[in-house]
């Protein structure tokens, strides 16, 4: 058996080294994408707590509250008879500048990103660990000067070239202050700066308030008793839970996003599966005679089956291992892309370390082997079914693959109908399971229709092919039809990859167009002002309370609307609470509602305890117009009646919007985070912007013109989807390798025929042209099938998967020109994939091939 394996498998594998390598690379790429997406996804979502742990040690519980935690609570908690330590913490973005180095006056988007960082305010005296960390190098701690020093992470220190003893200016909403760097915490993957809590409160004018209370339990403290005691002390609206719960919440929030990436990555594996199938089918077809002889001399059909499955498993194993190594490398590149998306759409987090866990490797190898096994099953069974008499029969023919037009069509239509029905179903456990299934069924439907499609289209092209392509065109078309099994597999594989490109392209393009239209209706003011720092989901740097007045008094300003945004939690998920000044908003038509008259809805907001929510919020929490939300605000729980649901695309987290009059009742101290400025007619927007920038220069704020914000939105959008483009590129690459592989197989299978046409007077350029024409035809067929499949898939992506995962209504806007260009590019690359097989064909020696049997 082993000897048979060596003879029948290993030797041919070595003989057709190029083909073997192409197959290995395509499996490896498929597996690599899957594992890379997993690893990078884990790293991008698994580290929400890491920086705080570095600073304070492992936190057991946290007390949080929408709108902040009252500082006086600390006094009450500290006196409780508990074996626990309580530490108030502030976590807010601040501007940073190195004195002497020209500051960041954000003229570009990039600069805007670089001028800020995350600030932690911690009680250093009350925290021996933090104090020890801080004092580490210097050895002495002068309590008098506590408020003048900062601890920075290595990452921030690297960016700003900070060393121990350097000066650093922090720019809070209310004031700027200069600090001295006392310690650089090594091996940090995120940027942050830690200061004493009093200094932090001073910078942000958060006197009396902190963001949360961290709790460390002593080992001997009974947890239940602790929970009971603390719950009795804190207001009802406050939450007490483990930091793990927060990470869990983050992970849950990212689940849909990661699943969508995962599904995309599996598509490359599916493409890889087609290629393994093709490769094994080739080796069976080419060794029919040999198998026949083996069977004639008494090898059992089971042994033949085992041998060919063995070949597949060998290819699968080696390919998967290569894939794991490649995936580890790819993950590094993907991590950045995914982290950008996570930060922009979901939650601010620092990417963690990529960990190549045993389970990840095992899963990748198992999926590689599984795919190899299943895709090899059919051709291996065919090999096992070869009759001993086959040895006597002449040359292997593909004619066995007869066309079953009716059967194939019936299957294809059945699968398509099933897919259509599935896509009508709602989410299961919040996930678009039926949608995923529908995409798989659609790919299967395309695979089933592929042979009919290939023969049909080639037949209708017969005339033009001969007229335009002459003998080469005729031969190319006919040989593809003759090797139907082979042709339809490669067409299906390529079409699947192209469909993925097309569907994601249509989805992203539609999304982009929708977002752009939404932004132009949303952004009606001339200038927008916000705290300095990168725009990031869930981060709302407060700005000084003086600013709104200053702006309103500036010449040329018509009106200025203040907006107060902050992150809050609702039913275990993060969302944004926002309060605007509806009196100003009214009549501008900025918010567009799913239903109802926007004037009436906005007017109704001026009444007490009314709100509107964004579409993703309404979808996520199943909120309808007329429902009353119970939202903890400050120490009370506010009952807010939903008056309307508006379109919103800026992030996956939902929005709840009220008038400031409503929020003020619960959180009178809530700082302004954004100001929208309308100019009087006749005033130059750029001039007024410059005047405002000079007037507000001592505040860490950025002023952006309407146009710049629109551009930014597009930049952020494109960055967010960079990861999907990367995935598509890999799938196309896999498919291209597959095309080259399959064309090579087509050439090697027809050595005799290619030799023959040389006898009939074909020149080598003619042989080359014939193979390239085949490549071009395969590209055309796959492009057409891929476009059809992709358009169907895009509907499922837009109206089922995306809608159910994220709750966005996306308008269908296929990006025609871009898609056309992409398809043309793919077609050109397919033709290029034919160059090597074509030169192999041209180099064949006719005298030798014609006598080969």
């Amino acid at each position: 058996m082993l000897q048979l394996f060596r003879r029948l498998i290993l030797r041919p594998l070595r003989r057709d080294l190029t083909r073997t390598l192409l197959t290995l690379v395509s499996i490896a790429l498929g597996v690599a994408v899957v594992i890379a997406i997993d690893l990078a996804g884990d790293a991008a979502t698994g580290s929400f707590q890491s920086s705080m742990t570095t600073l304070l040690g492992k936190v057991d519980y946290e007390i949080t509250n929408n709108g902040g935690v009252d500082e006086t609570l600390f006094g009450k908690l500290a006196t409780l008879p508990l074996n626990a330590r309580f530490t108030p913490v502030i976590q807010q973005p601040v501007g940073v500048a190195v004195p002497g180095v020209p500051g960041a006056s954000a003229t570009s988007f990039e600069e805007l990103l670089s001028g800020s960082t995350t600030m932690y305010g911690v009680d250093i005296i009350g925290n021996p660990d933090a104090a020890a960390n801080a004092a580490d190098a210097s050895g002495d701690l002068d309590p008098e000067n506590l408020e003048q020093f900062v601890v920075v992470s290595s990452e921030l220190a690297d960016r700003l070239h900070l060393k121990k003893g350097a000066a650093l200016e922090l720019q809070g909403s209310e004031k700027n202050a200069r600090f001295e760097v006392r310690y650089v915490v090594p091996n940090q993957r995120s940027e942050w700066v830690a200061v004493d809590i009093a200094a932090a409160q001073d910078l942000l004018s958060m006197q009396g308030r902190v963001d949360r209370m961290e709790i460390f339990l002593a080992p001997q403290q009974d947890e239940q008793a602790f929970l009971k005691t603390v719950r009795a002390v804190i207001p009802d609206a406050y939450e007490l839970e483990t930091p793990g719960a927060r990470s869990e919440e983050n992970r849950r929030m990212l689940r849909a996003f990661r699943w969508n990436l995962r599904i995309l990555s599996y598509i490359s594996l599916i493409v890889g599966a087609f290629l393994i199938y093709n490769s094994i089918a080739v080796s069976v077809v080419r060794r029919r005679g040999e198998i026949g002889i083996l069977r004639a001399i008494g090898t059992s059909s089971r042994a033949v089956l085992a041998i060919f499955l063995g070949e597949a498993m060998l290819l699968g194993l080696v390919g998967s291992l290569l894939g794991v190594a490649l995936g580890r490398v790819l993950a590094g590149g993907l991590l950045k892309l995914i982290a950008v998306t996570v930060n922009a759409l979901f939650v601010t987090s620092a990417p963690g370390e990529i960990a190549l866990s045993f389970t990840a490797v095992a899963t990748a190898v198992a999926s590689g082997l599984g795919v190899a096994f299943h895709s090899a099953l059919l051709p291996s069974l065919e090999a096992a079914g070869v009759a001993p008499a086959e040895a006597m029969r002449r040359a292997s023919r593909d004619h066995a693959a007869k066309l079953h037009v009716r059967r194939d069509l019936v299957w294809s239509v059945t699968l398509a109908v099933a897919a259509a029905l599935l896509s009508q179903m709602g989410p299961i456990a919040g996930r678009p399971v039926a949608g995923y299934l529908a995409t798989l069924l659609m790919i299967a439907a395309a695979a089933m229709v592929s042979p009919v499609f290939v023969t049909g289209l080639l037949r209708s092209l017969r005339g033009p092919l001969k007229k335009v392509g002459g003998a080469e065109g005729l031969l190319a078309g006919r040989s593809l039809t003759a090797s139907l099994a082979r042709t339809s597999i490669i067409v299906t594989a390529l079409a699947t990859a192209i469909a993925m490109m097309v569907s994601v392209g249509i989805m992203v393009g539609s999304f982009r167009e929708t977002v752009q239209m939404w932004i132009s209706s949303q952004l009606r003011a001339d200038l927008y002002l916000r705290g300095a720092g990168p725009p990031s989901a869930g981060v709302y740097p407060p700005i000084s309370s003086d600013i709104q007045g200053l702006i309103a008094d500036t010449e040329g300003v018509d009106k200025a609307e203040a907006f107060r945004g902050f992150e809050f939690r609702y039913e275990g998920a993060r969302a944004t609470f926002g309060a605007g000044e509806i009196a100003i908003q009214k009549g501008l038509g900025a918010l567009q509602f799913l239903q109802g008259n926007s004037q009436e809805i906005l007017t109704s907001l001026q009444a007490e305890d009314h709100c509107v929510v964004s579409e993703p919020f309404s979808n996520k929490h199943h909120v309808k117009v007329g429902d009353v939300l119970q939202i903890p605000l400050g120490k009370k729980i506010a009952p807010l009646r939903v008056m309307g649901i508006y379109y919103e695309y800026s992030s996956d987290r939902g929005y709840v919007i009220t008038d400031w009059s409503t929020l003020r009742k619960y959180l009178p101290e809530q700082p302004v985070t954004n100001v929208a400025v309308w100019l009087k007619p006749g005033f130059d927007q750029e001039k007024v912007q410059r005047v405002l920038e000079t007037e507000l220069r001592k505040y860490p704020v950025t002023i952006a013109a309407n146009r710049m914000l629109r551009e930014q939105a597009v930049i952020i959008f494109d960055r967010t989807f960079a990861v999907t483009y990367a995935l598509e590129a890999v799938a196309i690459l896999v498919a291209m390798l597959g095309a080259a592989n399959a064309l090579l197989a087509l050439v090697l299978d027809r050595r005799r025929e290619i030799g023959l046409i040389r006898y009939l007077g074909a020149t080598t350029p003619q042989v080359r042209k014939m193979i390239l024409t085949e490549a071009g035809l395969i590209g055309l067929l796959s492009g057409a099938l891929g476009l059809a499949l992709g358009s169907a898939l895009s509907l499922v992506l837009i109206f089922v998967i995306n809608k159910q995962s994220f709750g966005w209504t996306i308008q269908f806007h296929p990006p025609g020109v871009l898609l056309g260009a992409a398809l043309l590019l793919v077609w050109v690359v397919t033709v290029l994939a034919g160059v090597y097989p074509a030169s192999v064909a041209a180099a064949l020696q006719p005298v030798e091939t014609i006598h080969e049997e």
């Binding site: 023919r397 003998a471 006919r478 046409i757 006898y759 007077g761 006719p846």
Partner: protein, 226 residues
């Protein structure tokens, strides 16, 4: 005794052929092949018949000596010129028919014409199929034909572009006697009606019987010419 060069389609002069493995397939043979005549190469397996045909068909080069086809020394021609020579002047018939399985009978016959860029390929092809007596099989695919029919299509294809030289390697080697006879008659007519110089390798006595010149070979030598 020796005919002039002009009247020969192919002149082989003192040809030696040594294959890469070192096998000396031809050890200095000379032969004239004339238009309108059927020249049969006879001899045991391995004596060098196919090697001779490859030289006659401009498919291979001699190691030393000369092969002149229609006044051109093949050794001096490049690949493009050899291809041009084949597509315009030479037709081939094989033992195993060698039809292109994906093409119909008529398309198979058309192929050399299409490759050469000729006009009226389809009409000429049908004409040749009529000449070999199976016009009704024009639209059939090779697997739908019998062995004899396949070889007739192959002959029609070899004669499609009206070649000056017809090279046939054991054309009846894979056929029963009746089909073989039909094929031999067609080969004879190719020489008589088209004036082609036919050179044919064969083991069969029936085939040898239609030949004008019988060349007996042994171990890379020509034993006798009659």
């Amino acid at each position: 005794m020796f005919p002039s060069k002009v009247s020969s389609a192919i002149s082989i002069r003192n040809a030696r052929k040594v294959y890469e493995g070192g096998v000396e397939a031809l050890r200095g043979v000379s032969l004239e092949i004339r238009p309108g005549q059927v020249t049969a190469l006879l001899g045991r397996s391995g004596c060098g018949k196919t090697t001779m045909l490859n030289l006659c068909g401009a498919m291979d080069f001699v190691t030393s000596g000369e092969v002149e086809i229609e006044g051109k020394l093949t050794n001096t021609l490049d690949d493009a010129a050899l291809t041009a020579l084949r597509r315009n002047r030479i037709g081939f018939i094989f033992q195993f028919f060698q039809l292109l399985p994906a093409l119909t009978a008529q398309e198979n016959v058309e192929m050399p014409l299409l490759l050469a860029g000729a006009k009226n390929a389809a009409a000429t092809a049908l004409e040749r199929l009529t000449w070999v007596g199976i016009p009704e099989k024009a639209k059939s695919l090779p697997f739908q034909l019998s062995g004899g029919q396949m070889q007739r299509v192959a002959i029609a294809r070899a004669m499609a572009h009206n070649p000056a030289i017809l090279v046939a390697d054991e054309p009846t080697g894979n056929l029963d006697t009746a089909s073989g006879d039909v094929v031999l008659q067609l080969i004879r007519r190719a020489a008589d009606e088209f004036g082609a110089a036919v050179v044919m390798a064969t083991h069969s006595l029936e085939a040898a019987a239609i030949a004008d010149v019988k060349v007996r070979m042994r171990d890379g030598h020509i034993e006798s010419v009659e």
